[in-house]
């Protein structure tokens, strides 16, 4: 049985309920309120992981979000295995199953730790240098091996079964951080009646009061004051308290991202509960009360399990009631670590010695330690430690060298000082300033409406922090519009002072030291690596960072950045601000993809658009394809047909009898107004003024550069009204293009543009029998060839509902496109289908539609054009009004390169073997025997098997294509070269006789 390190008379968890959990398969017990880290420590477990590069045994460094070492996997079930969870923030729950990472075969015996012995090979820049050559070995040998050996946890291999939520929120004052400063600020702001959001990453608010034992606020012990203040805030309607909520990103205009963890602490989360919730908060004012993070000491072998931050040991003792050892050493360069020794000593734990690099520290902390009889080693340093899987002793020496003394310890607490957490301030684009007196970076110039208070602002001491925070909270509320009220601020007291300390390598960990003095525990970066990077020419801290990977792990260097900077500065003989601080970027702590994506996954990833006739197509057995957001019927297989058979049948049936097609997805824009025709003249290449009402025209739209942007059939319904169609999915950008010109270039034109894509359901009936099919359903329109010739439009009734009936064709057959109000689409297509069956018609889908149009050489914009194709390239010069003096693209079209020889032109291709179907996108060459790389002269843009032609057909863009009619060209494929003949683009009914019926 493991021995308990839980002390009976320490901490706040008291006689909390026992909670069982397992770590690497072994069962342990903790208590309610524990984190995984405190529970492990209570069981005497310090070894929790192996390091990233050297596989060195690692323990628990901290008691909070800054933890670089104690990363574990939490396995809830087969689907939910979360890697790289910091044991220091994972709350314990009944049955929690944690596993260590980055070790094989076991945590206490890791075969990978030979890389520690081979570590001279693994120094800074190692990845860049060692594996430069040969190139092929990188892919096949080095990279997989490194990936196997190094790395953190294992990604889950099944889809995430949890769901995630998101909310937007607006407030007057957002307070990030719920320590003493954050609580004081939130309280002051809330008292004015302002809308306040207060968030904190921990389950309980109170911050450092969690462990700062001697602090009092308004006469109450600090922690009790914090909980009382929380209760007061919670009772207010104008306050939202968000615990377990990290402010991870600070964006423009006080837009702050928070992530709230809702179920990771629960033994049995309800399936209805989201695991996390993303808050996107827009705050009029932001108060940053993000505190400070204690730095470790950089000395030899400072990474052994059992070596941790002094404040962490205090938190484990004073909050969780856990002693981190029985024989505890302290290595420090500031006062705050003394309080850890004092608290532990008072709780009955033996303090082996305090080693302080300062020669003459003075003050309450030192006096108290002395009074308790703790041995002080002033002006001394720890040069290395011993112990394999747990620290067993520290080796102490005078700063200038001399005899070594080994002091047995089972835990070693360290503190180099406190780094203000300026992460969010820096993300807000505020500029940090270096304070020479205190040797630290603090908020300088602000870029946004925010203020930093307390420890993150470099304010020392609890009462000054409360004073500053309270005033800032009140001011922020007033600036956000709240009324000023006379408020009296809480008064706080403590005997503790946490300022000063050191940054960089401790005495004895200089350039000549042999053992590894770790700066960045998570990426295994040592003081030596930083010096090496500088020695190899890295001058900027950004370069040093990337070369050594210091601060680039998932903890983003919360404990290591300042040390790395100090060592680089020392090596360069510069000051820290001269070398510069690296930029802080979101997120502050890792955020799951789940939270970021939240609801936008699966069917909610993107809207799905279905036509009113969708279910009708489903009932007819349609197979659908995605076209943008649309689901379109692709083909209608009958009696076990495969796609090819179905498409062949549909194509033949359309030309023999008729086919019925859902064309609803076509974009539609209504252009209306006295200047509608003038506007159309400007937006399309074609002439429109003389088009009679009731007639249609195929229109081409260019961009100003002269390239084809869109096309479609346009019907003139009246002098002042055009029914414009666009490509499927093209309607929004075409309308945007039209609006742009109408609003900003041609605002004098009296024209209104309305998107009508969703208003009209469109059913195409194409084929020689089309007129016979629809005849019984049409009311009030003469649809004879004489009265309604090809390219005409009439309004009237169809199946008793209003219609815009187009005589037009995208198949080359006599055809109609029947527009009816969307709600009637389903009923109308059923009526047409009923009639169609009498005439041997079929339903056909987009694939047959594509084949039919290609047989006729009709282009699809975006398939046969690619944004660099002019009307002339596409063989559409006939559609450009020759007498026009202006339209969008008129000048761009005439650019020299667009008129020069050698343009790629649209042509047809026939394979020499009619059975061979070319691949769309395949490249075309003139001479297949030339050396590789060959000169490519074009590519295949459309290619199909045409059952109507009894052969394959293709469209292609080929250099000077129209002057190559009859030429043989070649399409080289991986396994063979295909011979093709250049032809015209029309493969079927070249005279167009069938169009007119």
């Amino acid at each position: 049985m493991t021995i308990s390190f839980r002390l009976a008379n320490a901490g706040r968890l008291g006689r909390a309920k026992s909670v069982r959990f397992s770590f690497d398969g072994k069962e342990y017990a903790g208590v309610e309120g524990d984190t995984l880290a405190s529970a492990l420590l209570a069981n005497g477990v310090h070894l929790v992981g192996r390091s990233f590069k050297y596989h060195r045994p690692r323990g628990i460094l901290s008691a909070g979000a800054e933890e670089p070492s104690a990363l574990v996997g939490i396995h809830r079930d087969a689907e939910r295995k979360t890697p790289n969870i910091r044991a220091t923030v994972q709350e314990l729950y009944e049955g929690l199953n944690a596993v260590s990472q980055n070790r094989w075969p076991s945590l206490s015996f890791d075969a990978g730790s030979v890389s520690d012995l081979a570590s001279p090979l693994l120094s800074a820049g190692f990845y860049y240098k060692t594996f430069m050559w040969p190139k092929v070995a990188w892919k096949s040998l080095y990279e997989p091996k490194i990936r196997e050996a190094a790395g953190l946890g294992v990604a889950p291999d099944l889809p995430d079964t949890d769901h995630y939520s998101a909310r937007y929120a607006h407030c007057d004052v957002l307070v990030v951080g719920g320590g003493v400063a954050g609580l004081a600020a939130a309280f002051a702001a809330a008292e004015t009646g302002a809308r306040v959001i207060l968030c904190d990453e921990q389950a309980d608010l109170g911050g450092a009061l969690r462990y700062e034992q001697g602090a009092t606020v308004d006469g109450q012990p600090g922690w009790e004051w914090a909980q009382a203040t929380v209760a007061k805030l919670a009772a207010k309607d104008n306050v939202r308290l968000l615990t377990r909520t990290t402010g991870f990103g600070y964006y423009a205009q006080n837009f702050v991202g928070l992530v709230e963890r809702l179920t990771d602490h629960l033994a049995q989360p309800s399936p209805d509960q989201p695991r996390e919730r993303l808050w996107q908060v827009r705050a009029k004012r932001v108060v940053l009360a993000t505190g400070a993070i204690e730095r470790h000491m950089v000395f030899g072998d400072n990474d052994r399990p059992g070596i941790m931050l002094a404040s962490a040991a205090r938190a484990y003792l004073n909050h969780y009631g856990v002693a981190v050892g029985r024989q505890v050493g302290v290595f420090t360069a500031n006062d705050s670590a003394y309080w850890a020794a004092v608290d532990l000593k008072k709780a009955g734990v033996n303090i082996a010695a305090i080693v302080d690099t300062r020669d003459n520290p003075s003050g309450r902390a030192i006096e108290e330690a002395r009074a308790l009889g703790i041995e002080l080693n002033l002006g001394r340093t720890v040069i290395r430690t011993n112990g394999r899987l747990r620290v067993s002793s520290m080796v102490v020496q005078a700063k200038k060298g001399g005899p070594e003394r080994t002091i047995p310890v089972d835990a070693l607490l360290m503190s180099a000082g406190w780094t203000p957490s300026v992460h969010l301030f820096s993300q807000s684009r505020g500029k940090v300033a270096f304070n020479k007196t205190t040797n630290r970076f603090v908020p300088g110039d602000y870029a946004q409406a925010c203020v930093s208070v307390g420890a993150c602002n470099g304010t020392d001491g609890i009462d000054p922090s409360v004073a500053e925070a309270f005033a800032a909270g009140e001011k922020a509320a007033r600036e956000a519009g709240a009324k000023a009220r006379k408020l009296s601020r809480p008064k706080a007291e403590t005997s503790e002072s946490w300022s000063r300390g050191m940054a960089g390598a401790a005495p004895g960990a200089g350039a000549d030291a042999k053992s590894k003095a770790f700066v960045d525990f998570q990426n295994d970066v040592t003081a030596k690596d930083i010096r090496l990077a500088v020695g190899q020419g890295m001058r900027s801290i950004e370069h040093v960072k990337r070369y050594t990977t210091n601060g680039m792990a998932t903890d983003q260097g919360k404990t290591s950045n300042l040390h790395g900077l100090a060592i680089a500065a020392e090596t360069l003989s510069k000051t820290m601000p001269e070398v510069g601080l690296t930029t802080f970027r979101p997120p502050y702590t890792p955020v799951t993809f789940g939270a970021i994506v939240n609801h936008s996954r699966g069917p909610l990833f993107e809207p799905t658009r279905k036509t009113p006739m969708h279910d009708f197509a489903v009932a007819r057995g349609a197979v659908f394809e995605d076209v943008g957001q649309w689901k379109r019927a692709w083909y209608f297989p009958q009696g076990g047909e495969d796609m090819h058979r179905a498409v062949d049948r549909e194509c033949v049936t359309v030309r023999k009898a008729a086919g019925i097609f859902d064309g609803t997805t076509l974009g539609k824009i209504e252009v209306v107004g006295p200047d509608a025709a003038a506007f159309m003249e400007l937006l399309y290449t074609n002439p429109w003024q003389k088009l009679d009402p009731g007639r249609c025209r195929y229109g081409i739209m260019l961009r100003e550069d002269g390239f084809i942007y869109d096309d479609g059939v346009v019907g003139r319904l009246a002098e002042d009204r055009f029914h414009v169609t666009t490509t499927t999915g093209g309607a929004p950008r075409v309308l945007n293009h039209m609006e742009d010109y109408l609003q900003t270039e041609f605002p004098h034109l009296k024209v209104w543009l309305t998107s009508t894509s969703e208003q009209w359901a469109v059913i195409a009936v194409q084929g020689p029998k089309s007129r016979d099919i629809i005849q019984p359903l049409v009311e009030g329109i003469d649809i004879s060839d004489e009265a309604l010739p090809h390219m005409s439009v009439r309004t009237g009734k169809f199946c008793g509902v209003p219609t815009r009936l187009f005589r037009m064709s995208f198949s080359g057959e006599r055809g109609f496109e029947i527009n009816v109000p969307s709600d009637f689409g389903r009923a109308v297509i059923e009526a047409i289908w009923k009639e169609g069956q009498k005439h041997g018609a079929c339903m056909y889908g987009t694939e047959a539609m594509h084949v039919l149009r290609a047989e006729k050489g009709y282009i699809i914009v975006g398939q046969d054009t690619d944004g660099t194709v002019t009307p002339d390239d596409a063989g559409l010069s006939w559609a450009v009004g020759k007498k026009k003096t202006d339209f969008v693209g008129i000048r761009g079209m005439k650019r020299p390169d667009l008129l020069a020889k050698g343009r790629k032109q649209l042509v047809g291709l026939k394979t020499k073997d009619p059975k061979t179907v070319l691949e769309e996108g395949a490249q075309i060459v003139a001479d297949p025997r030339q050396a590789i790389p060959m000169t490519m002269i074009g590519h295949v843009s459309s290619s199909y098997w045409s059952e109507n032609c009894g052969r394959s057909i293709a469209l292609a863009l080929v250099k000077d294509g129209r002057s190559r009619m009859g030429e043989t060209l070649y399409v080289p494929m991986p396994d063979r070269t295909i011979e093709v003949e250049v032809t015209g683009t029309v493969f079927y009914d070249e005279t167009g006789a069938r169009l007119n019926g």
Partner: protein
């Protein structure tokens, strides 16, 4: 996410309601068909791409659908001013040069 003030709606609204539409105050030549190559190049291809204040067009596409102009600092992303299409480029910008 930026907040952008639509000069037509007279409201600050989230960026996702808007779409950028390129540099502002680039007028289409009235007799564009007869522009020489150099002038057309200047009109169609050349943009200022400044580090600092840019005058650009935005469209309140998911709101009133109007195009308008804005002066934005490309370094800080801060909007100094938005104004209606057709209005002259402002001579003075509020808070220009400040962070």
């Amino acid at each position: 996410m930026l907040l952008i003030r639509c000069p037509y709606c007279e409201q600050e609204l989230p960026e996702i309601e808007f779409r950028n539409a390129g540099e502002a105050h680039v007028a289409r030549p009235p007799d564009i068909a007869n522009e020489n190559d150099a002038d057309f190049e200047k009109y169609f291809f050349i943009r200022t791409n400044p580090k600092g204040i840019i005058y650009e067009r935005w469209r309140h596409v998911h709101g009133c659908a109007r195009f308008f102009n804005a002066a934005r600092d490309t370094v800080t992303d801060r909007f100094l001013l938005t104004y209606k299409a057709g209005e002259k480029k402002p001579k003075k910008l509020p808070g220009a040069g400040k962070q």
